[in-house]
Symmetry: none
Subunit: 507 residues, 2 copies
């Protein structure tokens, strides 16, 4: 054992020169597990011992171990030390089923009809404050930095960049993303495994069509999530059973029972409930995929924004051949750019590229792709994400502080991360809170609108997109929210009385 570690330590030592000791150590450990040098179940040296071997502070090693436990690479148990997590052996994926015409585009299925648009046209009066989720603070779009990147990119672009492009997206962007995703999100990414798409929904639609063509029947989704996404999968001809959940998040162990072909997970920050999938369930999801040939579709919509600690690495790092990673610029930069990306297992790459290429038009404009590549490569993206992380973190802190003062009964759920939080409400009060919000000129969403139709209505709450308003409107929006919740608290306090009266009067 000691000898192994000497070797490993020596390898590692090269990596550990530089300012980011912990990150380097984590990378080296992940690599050793992935490459098989550290077998599942094997015990790691104590943090004290490894720190001495490597000549680094013990805390550096202890922190790295803790994060890798959180990511599902390692396990730590009282009395048994830190070990490499056991998981099912990867096995060769089943042969892809013969290609069938994708079923996704049959309009007869579920035409989203005229009423939706008509309703949108009969616009409700514009609310004074908007705390709906789904959008970053649009006022903070870094126009100057983006313009600089765009100018540089357009000036340097080869002529062919203005033509019809590779359906996978521009090489420049895929190369810049591979570097960024490996560094910032622990994604195993190579440019040739990346497909640029026009948003998360676009990527999911392509995946749905490819899976359906392979003969897949069902993609499990979380009990709470965006119905739009489940709808896209159903449009592709797939069933979307709900994965049950409990207080720790999606009950991944149910996958072996429901036996879907794939599962869609927001592992880093459940949308909308806000939890992080615990390490054992992260590992279990990958184990299930390995054991059954299933796929995990990882929706990493806001993975850049974690406020209490370093972001947990992407699930995809655990097994790049069984996890599809999907990220987007819609939360970190702006939805208006229509830029997202998938990192695909090797076995899916050709089929997804072919499906995307079948409709040549569906790609982002190449100038914006090149601008984003330049934005990433120049470090402007990192700077922007850091600035936004501070801004959103401050808002979340202010939300927690204000609620503690003005509506102390309201619990702020989930981890300190992302652009939204769920405020838990007592049973039977969500609808009243939404009506009160509308009355106060506040646009906000109830938890129930994100519930899978099959899932039990087990909790109520408001989903508050604190990232949405511009800075100038944030304090006003927060004030309006507090007034709503003060009122709900009062109504709750009154409810028993009023119910009593009601009962009395109808009896």
């Amino acid at each position: 054992m000691r000898n192994d570690w000497a070797t490993f330590g020596a390898d590692l030592h090269l990596e550990l020169r530089g300012p980011r000791l912990r990150a380097g150590l984590m990378d080296a450990l992940r690599e050793a597990v992935r490459g098989g040098r550290l077998a599942p179940g094997s015990r790691l040296p104590s943090s004290r011992q490894l720190a001495a071997d490597l000549g680094v502070a013990r805390n550096t090693v202890a922190d790295a171990y803790a994060e890798l436990v959180a990511e599902g690479w390692l396990t730590a148990r009282q009395g048994s030390g830190t070990r490499v997590a056991r998981r099912a052996e990867p096995r060769p994926a089943a042969e892809p089923a013969p290609e069938r015409p994708p079923a996704g585009l049959s309009p007869g299925n579920t035409p989203i009809g005229i009423p939706a648009v008509r309703a949108a046209r009969r616009r409700a009066p514009v609310p004074a404050y908007d705390l709906r989720t789904g959008s970053p603070d649009l006022a903070s779009f870094p126009r100057t930095a983006w313009l600089r990147a765009y100018r540089r990119a357009l000036t340097a672009a080869p002529n062919e960049a203005f033509g019809y492009g590779d359906p996978r997206g521009r090489t420049e962007l895929r190369t810049a993303l591979a570097e960024y995703l490996a560094r910032a999100r622990g994604v195993h990414a190579r440019p040739e495994r990346i497909v640029i798409c026009a948003g998360f929904a676009h990527g999911l639609m392509l995946l749905g069509q490819v899976l359906r063509a392979r003969g897949a029947r069902a993609v499990a989704v979380e009990s709470y999530g965006l119905g739009l996404y489940a709808g896209l999968l159903r449009k592709a001809g797939l069933a979307t059973p709900a994965l049950p959940f409990d207080e720790r998040g999606a009950r991944v162990e149910e996958l072996t029972r429901t036996a879907p072909d794939a599962v869609l997970l927001t592992a880093a920050h459940q949308f909308p409930l806000g939890g992080a999938l615990p390490p054992d369930r992260r590992a279990a999801a990958v184990d299930w995929a390995r054991a059954t040939g299933g796929l995990v579709l990882e929706d990493d919509y806001d993975g850049e924004f974690r406020y209490d600690r370093q972001p947990v690495g992407a699930l995809q790092g655990l097994d790049p051949e069984r996890v599809v990673y999907i990220g987007t610029a819609s939360k970190s930069l702006a939805p208006g750019l229509r830029l997202a990306w998938m990192v695909l297992p090797e076995g899916l790459m050709d089929e997804v590229a072919a499906e995307k290429g079948a409709v040549v038009d569906w790609m982002c404009g190449t100038p914006d792709q090149l601008a984003f590549a330049e934005f990433l490569a120049s470090g402007a993206y990192d700077r922007h994400v850091r600035a936004m992380r501070l801004r959103y973190r401050r808002r979340r802190d202010e939300l927690v502080t204000a609620l503690a003062a003005r509506a102390p009964g309201i619990h702020v759920g989930g981890i300190a991360a992302g652009l939204h939080a769920v405020l838990s409400l007592s049973p039977g009060t969500e609808q009243a809170a939404l009506r009160s919000a509308a009355w106060h000129g506040l646009a906000v969403q109830g938890l129930d609108q994100f519930r899978h139709p099959e899932a039990p209505r087990s909790q109520e709450g408001l989903v508050v997109g604190y990232g949405t308003p511009p800075d100038s409107a944030w304090q006003g929006a927060l004030g309006a929210l507090c007034r709503v919740l003060e009122g709900v608290g009062e109504a709750e306090a009154e409810e028993p009385r009023s119910k009593g009266i009601d009962r009395g009067s109808t009896a």
Copy 2:
């Protein structure tokens, strides 16, 4: 010389065993030329001599020579015998040929499967010259003017422009387009009737889905066109019967007999044949639509480019409630922008917007939409189109002049318009011309690849995208094209003789 031939003959002898002597001989000769064993300009042995060397009938050799002349591998001149053709040296293209999806691939019909993508990765040698259709001269993209428009647009944009947008597209762009289309193309356009899409194919796909959802069964298409488009309609569940054609264009009067729900027409400049639909047939198409409740889908892909006169106004002007107008920036500006637009009858507007909105992701990035609005409103688009009109017109004139001098038998079809022309070929020579073009390092398409499978193979020709190459490559491309067509002319001139021999030998 004799010695060379002894070696060559020996090599060849192995290949020539078997039933298909002539084919085997042709393969061996092509291989010898390709591999450099037979240098350009070198003289081949007489057919009598080679026949004796190989122990085959003289006619076999004479026929093989004649076919290779037709293909452009060899030349045959009175008094100078048969020689290996001198060809343009394949030079490293200044511009890598833009990667384009092969025109005519219909995803519904033959889903672009994995093999297509794999094949694309195993890149064929880049041709020296590209005269395929579908792309404007990418080197002429007005980078400076576009950047100016982009900067102005991004600076002036309201914050909400960076969010999820109206599925119909940005108001600024729809307003600028309505003004431009009315002025330049005679389109009856109001901003609220316009939907921005990511290209013509995107618009057609939306229309196909909406029509299918309404119960439509068939959309008639022209006998010659892009199979990709018919394929998209079939993917939406629609039949795509071919509209017969004659020397005046699509036989619109057949619509009353075939009774489709809609018809897709390139009325201003038939693609690829190049004619303009005559006035009586334009009127007949609209009359049919009015009488039956049918729809005309007008593909105005290059309506800005007419050289002999003012462009004929769009068909849509005749009846905006029965014609859907679809235009694109892919020919006038650059395909890489992914910008196109539909002008819809009132009765379709809600359904198309709903279908588009159902997949929120599928829109162009808003910065590019705003930049294009500014580009239009500032007059930069008009200036660019005027400059390109002069450039393409000059190229077309040079094409006509060069062919008149060097291949006088070749007719340039269609009106003086657009970015491409059809060069008519004698029956039975299209394939040989394509092989010859490949040999000369020239990428060009045959008419047959645009033919509807149900339509008779009534004409042959090359479809020449003279708009495609950059100015620096245009003269070289034209020269290569002339060499190809000279060879085809020669082969034709010799054909009767070789055929006579054939007939003699089989009689």
